[in-house]
């Protein structure tokens, strides 16, 4: 216990932003990690070092700098493959983030594989990034978008999936490993089992899961897997699409341009090998390097330790928040089925007002629809307040959150 405390203190020292104050000299309590995480010195320094010492365009030039830059960039591809347990590094495609990854699939796979009458299945607790690309695709192709519903406990109703699969028209099931609003961890084994039996492709949105728990893509057995760097200590503007090679080979390019070609003639072009066929233009080299440093940092701490820390915090927070009068927590209370994301509403007080009043105490939580309006409709609310944790958060910070919520109760005379 003592050593865990010490290591938490050491972790916090790596994050310069956690030392600053906000508003009227209040120590920052950052609880919006489902949205984006703070960055340790190791990541900031890696980006700095890249620009100060190695900056050049990659893959083509023969001079020393270009060779170093290429090596740094490609090393991160190996780190990613290792981190999510993918055997073939050429199946890792760097993109801007989860949103771009899913759009890439909707465009480069969807446009050549989806026909009129086909069905794409998503779920009621998806982020807009796993809904809107499918709306665009199905509308264009006169196909249909269907939903796996969510029960009152915040878990998916898998009978909906059975019913949809039995039509024989489903071509893709796209779902998140962890809900960004409720923190629910999807029953991936059951979903994958059903989809495999039906011979249907699967896309997993790992944006909320990869930063917080050990994810083994090979074991998951899906066909597409997407996640973002900035939610796992990395910089913004970098993310990953992994796709099975046999599927990637049936796809047309996403963007046309430099680096994705083999030969360009006046009226025709042949494509570069994987993964470069899907990485057109000069990529976000510096942030890929920073992302590599983030993976190193997480690997050093250990994903199982991170999950355990968040389980402890979430348990503690649910217990404390349950005692705040008028506060309602959404989703399952079973810790093994949820991550460190807690959405709540507070009597009749709008989440915006909650967030603003506790901001006064230096506490950053999110209020709004969290890019999940379909889920808000299902919960029949306009918005929720959301606190989400990461490796640097402490029980003392949760106490501060609870204190500040009591202040909200006083102001609104609850």
């Amino acid at each position: 216990m003592q050593s865990a405390q010490t290591s938490l203190e050491n972790i916090r020292k790596d994050f310069p932003i956690l030392g600053r104050t906000v508003r009227e000299n209040k120590t920052l309590v950052y609880l919006d990690n489902a949205s984006t995480t703070q960055k340790p010195n190791q990541v900031i320094d890696a980006i700095n070092d890249y620009y100060k010492n190695h900056n050049a365009n990659i893959h083509r030039a023969v001079y020393a700098l270009a060779e170093e830059a290429t090596e740094l960039y490609e090393k991160t591809r190996d780190k990613v493959a290792n981190f999510i347990n993918v055997k073939n590094r050429n199946e890792i495609i760097f993109v801007r983030g989860t949103t771009e990854a899913i759009n890439l699939v909707a465009y480069a796979w969807g446009r050549s594989h989806i026909k009129e009458g086909d069905i794409i299945v998503t779920t009621e607790y998806e982020h807009h990034s796993n809904i809107v690309p499918w709306q665009l695709l199905t509308q264009e192709k006169k196909a249909k978008l269907e939903y796996i519903g969510m029960d009152d406990n915040g878990e998916l109703i898998l009978e909906d999936l059975d019913r949809l699969l039995s039509t024989g028209k489903v071509k893709l099931v796209a779902f998140s490993l962890m809900s960004n609003v409720l923190g629910t961890i999807s029953d991936t084994d059951a979903i994958m089992d059903k989809c495999k039996k039906a011979g249907v492709l699967t896309l997993i949105d790992g944006a909320q899961a990869v930063p917080h728990m050990k994810v083994d893509v090979e074991k998951l057995g899906c066909d597409f897997f997407a996640f973002s760097g900035h939610k796992m200590l990395g910089p913004t503007g970098i993310g990953v699409l992994w796709a099975r090679k046999s599927v990637l080979e049936t796809m047309t390019p996403f963007h046309g341009g430099g680096d994705m070609i083999r030969e360009v003639h006046k009226y025709e072009t042949t494509w570069n090998d994987l993964p470069y066929k899907f990485e057109a233009g000069t990529p976000n080299i510096a942030d890929v390097v920073g992302f590599g440093a983030a993976i190193d940092y997480l690997t050093k701490i250990g994903m199982d330790n991170i999950r355990q820390h968040e389980v402890d915090l979430t348990k503690y927070a649910i217990e404390k928040l349950s005692n705040v009068k008028g506060l309602h927590i959404y989703g399952t209370k079973e810790i093994s089925k949820r991550g460190g994301v807690i959405s709540f509403n507070f009597a009749d007080v709008h989440p915006h007002d909650v967030a603003q009043i506790i901001d006064e105490e230096g506490i950053a939580i999110r209020s709004g629809h969290h890019c999940a309006q379909v889920l808000m409709e299902r919960l029949n609310v306009a918005a929720t307040s959301r606190a989400s944790f990461y490796i640097y958060n402490t029980k003392e910070e949760i106490d501060k959150l609870v204190d500040s919520l009591n202040k909200v109760a006083r102001i609104f005379k609850l």
């Binding site: 709008h350 007002d353 629809h369 918005a383």
Partner: protein, 146 residues
């Protein structure tokens, strides 16, 4: 002004017991808009007789700031001539509640209903007036409110 100070008595009261809240079934004009970032959503119904806003109601979902400002705005507009309502400004609404220094991120909460009101008038006048110059100015004003 401290940010928590905006939650004074009047705001809390209006948010709990908004005035002019509801629908006008036989309205002459109705308009709806929402804030894409926070999901606040407001509808305004108006009854217009002899170029005067004889009745106005709003309904929807929003934070305390949004509800209080909608209450105040509808109270200002009620009984006024169309020309007077056209000239209602941000300051009129914010001033009434002491929100002149509201931080930028909350301005859209405070002014959503004013935007809806301007659009509603635009929609009404567009149908009833020949001179479109005035109407376009109103639309532009509504679009650039915040």
């Amino acid at each position: 002004m401290s940010n928590a100070d905006i939650y004074h008595e009047m705001i809390i009261d209006y948010s709990r017991n908004p005035i002019n809240y509801g629908k006008i079934e036989d309205h002459d004009v109705t308009f709806h808009d929402s804030n894409p970032l926070c999901g606040d959503s407001i509808d305004i119904d108006m009854k217009i007789d002899d170029n005067t806003v004889s009745d106005i109601k709003f309904h929807g979902k929003g934070c305390a700031i949004c509800m209080a400002c909608s209450s105040v705005l509808t109270e200002i507009a009620k009984g006024k001539s169309i020309d007077e309502v056209k000239n209602i400004t941000k300051k009129d609404v914010l001033g009434e509640l002491g929100l002149e220094n509201l931080q930028a991120v909350r301005i859209k909460c405070a002014l959503l209903s004013l935007k809806v009101l301007k659009y509603a008038l635009y929609s009404y006048l567009g149908k009833h007036l020949e001179n479109n110059q005035d109407v376009d100015k109103l639309k532009e004003e509504a679009a650039n409110l915040y």
